[in-house]
């Protein structure tokens, strides 16, 4: 198997799209192509990560449509990867396999989602299709409601308080305010969202004990990466970043069926596999992008991935260890909470953000001391399909 490098990255502005889903994806792909400087080289395969286009945007066969719009004929492969909110990292994993195996030399992976083409009820509804059809969905279960039940149990067991949840939001909004591509570039304060006189009007319940600022926004956005064999990486313009490890794991569909519903077993197993493949440990990581679709998930994932002991994640957060400049900055891009969560795209955007960090190109939200290793968790369903990725700066 060949080592595989990320040789180009690109991304649109996140938030409310001005253009069609396909045009956003073209923009992100073009950014990555220019970033890499591919010259006359042919793109051998295109993998698209998306979850909702056939329902929300009346567009199926998105990979074929993207090949057409970008005139990439006749690519060897063009496929859509749908793995719910983990589609992005899954698509990158497929790109990795096709380059590592020697089947392809230059592969474009593009994640795109345009959720604001439908209203918020429709968006909540289509994401809730991820739940178990007859044991969860029929009861009105949505992703926020699964997260609410998880949060209550987690708070009871581990001493996490509403202040800790708010600290995740405050940190990630502060980071996102520095990221020009983020969806919500609005710093928030503890007074504003939890303790001040107007706080609870600003921050109403969504699914108790989760409030509005505990949940990611509904975002549009597209991101792209170009993959090539590490041996060819020096032919491109930028410092290569190697995909050192990818791990994936699954868990029961109905959350209630897990032996301990506060354990995110698939996160733990996916991270273990990714670290084993990379021959690295959590101690080697200097920057992480975790899947904070709900504030509690950043805390829980930071423990399951091995950065902190179970029940210690919120204490590390409280001590400031996960801020930019802390021992392990988590979500310097703003995370899903502030950068945004175009569901099918998110895993690609996490890898784009880590690549910028490892190259030293993250501008105002750059993690100091030239990080060499980055880590991402892309969390599908409510933890029933998780992909973890370890990146390593080349050269």
């Amino acid at each position: 198997m060949r080592d595989v490098a990320i040789v180009g990255v690109g991304s649109t502005q996140f938030g409310r799209a001005q253009w069609s889903l396909l045009k956003m994806m073209c923009e992100a792909s073009h950014d990555a192509i220019v970033d890499a400087g591919i010259g006359e080289r042919k793109i051998d395969a295109v993998y698209v990560a998306n979850m909702g286009a056939p329902r929300n945007n009346r567009q199926a066969g998105l990979a074929s449509a993207l090949v057409d719009r970008l005139n990439l004929f006749p690519t060897a492969a063009a496929e859509v990867i749908e793995n719910g909110p983990a589609s992005g990292a899954s698509a990158i994993k497929h790109g990795l396999h096709s380059v590592a195996s020697g089947l392809c030399d230059l592969v474009l992976v593009c994640g795109g989602e345009r959720m604001q083409e439908v209203n918020n009820f429709e968006a909540t509804e289509f994401v809730s299709f991820l739940s178990h059809r007859y044991a969860e969905y029929v009861y009105g279960v949505t992703l926020p409601s699964l997260a609410g039940m998880f949060t209550r149990l987690y708070m009871d067991r581990h001493g996490v308080r509403p202040e800790h949840l708010a600290m995740v939001a405050i940190k990630n909004h502060a980071n996102g305010a520095l990221n020009p591509k983020a969806h919500l570039r609005i710093p928030v304060t503890m007074e504003g969202i939890l303790t001040g006189p107007e706080a609870l009007n600003n921050n109403p319940w969504v699914a108790e004990p989760l409030r509005f600022f505990d949940c990611c926004p509904v975002s549009d956005g597209a991101s792209a990466v170009l993959l090539a064999p590490a041996a060819l990486a020096k032919e491109f313009k930028k410092t290569p970043v190697l995909i050192a490890g990818v791990g994936q794991a699954t868990d029961t569909h109905a959350v209630h069926e897990r032996p301990d519903p506060t354990e995110l077993t698939a996160v733990r197993l996916a991270a273990e596999k990714a670290f084993a493949m990379a021959k690295l440990t959590p101690k080697d990581i200097q920057v992480a992008e975790l899947h904070d679709a709900f504030t509690i998930l950043e805390i829980a994932e930071s423990e399951e991935a091995g950065f902190f002991k179970k029940g210690e994640g919120h204490k590390a957060l409280e001590r400031g260890e996960t801020r930019i400049g802390g021992r392990l900055p988590i979500n310097p891009s703003g995370g899903l909470k502030s950068r945004g969560h175009p569901v099918g795209n998110t895993g690609v955007s996490q890898v784009v953000e880590l690549t910028l960090q490892l190259r030293g190109e993250a501008g105002d939200y750059q993690v100091p001391n030239q990080p060499k290793h980055g880590f991402a968790v892309n969390f599908g369903g409510f933890g029933n399909n998780v992909v973890a990725t370890v990146l390593k700066r080349g050269v």
Binding site: T142, P144, S145, R152
Partner: protein, 112 residues
């Protein structure tokens, strides 16, 4: 007429599962006997949901995960005004949603 919600008891090893699986999670058996979900249980966790999907006219709904004395957990609606973790509840069957104009019945947990 309200329909029972059923767990599956493996005819090979006796393992009770809910929801059902094609293979038994314990022994890979493929033959099951339906067992209605009923009786009392303990509330493991719950949430009041205000951001509702389509099909709901309510201001909020209350959902919970219950550990039933019969040996499985289940997710369902709660009709308890002030739920608390650890409360004793009873499984009943009632309307839980309307999909395409048709009533869907399922588990509704009331105070025991």
């Amino acid at each position: 007429m309200a329909r029972n919600v059923e767990a599956a008891k493996c005819k090979n090893c006796g393992k009770l599962s809910y929801p059902t699986h094609f293979y038994c999670p314990s022994c890979r058996g493929t033959k099951f006997e339906p067992v209605p979900i009923q009786g009392e249980g303990t509330l493991l966790t719950w949430t009041r949901v205000y951001a509702l999907p389509l099909d709901y006219a309510d201001l909020f709904i209350t959902l919970g995960i219950v550990e039933l004395d019969m040996g499985v957990r289940a997710t369902g609606r709660l009709t308890i005004a002030e739920p608390r973790t650890g409360a004793r509840v009873r499984a009943t069957i009632g309307k839980v949603r309307e999909i395409n104009g048709k009533d869907v019945t399922g588990l509704v947990f009331t105070a025991a």
